[in-house]
């Protein structure tokens, strides 16, 4: 998963660099290299925009699974299980 993450993040940097340079050209500005693109606020805004929502999602999932139930779903504790019951793993 970590390898796929780095591969797709790299792919994002390539495709977004192309978009960024098309925009630069349109405004009569110099195209940038990959190395300087990955230090731009354009790249980090897009990246952090995605990351923050992933952290939000996993964090709320962790908290919501304490209090909420969905009958039949393995993502949920059994309906009627107490809030303080913690799952085990491994």
């Amino acid at each position: 998963m970590t390898a796929i993450f780095f591969a797709t993040w790299f792919a994002q940097s390539l495709t977004d660099k192309t978009l960024y340079n098309a925009d630069q050209e349109e405004h009569g500005k110099q195209a940038v290299s990959w190395a300087s693109y990955v230090t731009t606020s354009d790249f980090w805004e897009k990246t952090l925009q995605n990351w923050q929502s992933e952290f939000l999602a996993v964090g709320t999932m962790a908290v919501f699974t304490v209090y909420l139930r969905q009958r039949g779903s393995p993502e949920s504790k059994p309906v009627g299980a107490p809030h303080n019951q913690t799952g085990t793993s491994g």
Binding site: D42, L48, F55, G59, A62, G72, S73, P74
Partner: protein, 133 residues
């Protein structure tokens, strides 16, 4: 300290969320101002940017898709199965014809979940993807 130990997972993700949303707002603010200057418009303050629809449209765009994703996942795992995955309903073995063979048939079904186990053409037990909870 006890609070942190008991809630470290949510606190960890809350911190990551706050750091990354702060990072997004800073990078987005710079980007917004580059755009403003390129169009001969005045630069805006960070406070203005984080209350602008530009920032919140980007945030909401991401949030709605996360909640959609989890809602679908929670509901889909009620009915759908991925053999070998932890994210699936516990398979319930239903004994249709309780005989002395049905216990071993249920065990065979657990190991080779082909759907139904028959003995002499009579279905002994079946399995359903619904959890018993």
């Amino acid at each position: 300290m006890r609070f942190l130990r008991d809630n470290s997972l949510s606190v960890f993700f809350l911190l990551l969320l706050l750091v990354s949303i702060a990072g997004q707002s800073l990078a987005g603010w710079h980007e917004y101002n580059f755009e403003q200057l390129a169009h001969n418009e005045p630069a805006v303050s960070w406070g203005y940017y984080v209350t602008s629809s530009s920032f919140w449209a980007a945030v909401m765009e991401n949030w709605q898709s996360e909640f959609l994703q989890f809602s679908f996942f929670i509901a889909a795992t009620i009915w759908l199965i991925q053999r070998g995955s932890t994210n699936q309903s516990r398979l319930r073995i239903v004994v249709l014809n309780p005989t002395k063979d049905s216990r071993s048939a249920a065990m065979r079904l657990r190991m080779h979940p082909a759907g139904r186990v028959r003995a002499a053409g009579v279905p002994l037990c079946t399995r359903t993807p619904f959890s018993s909870s």
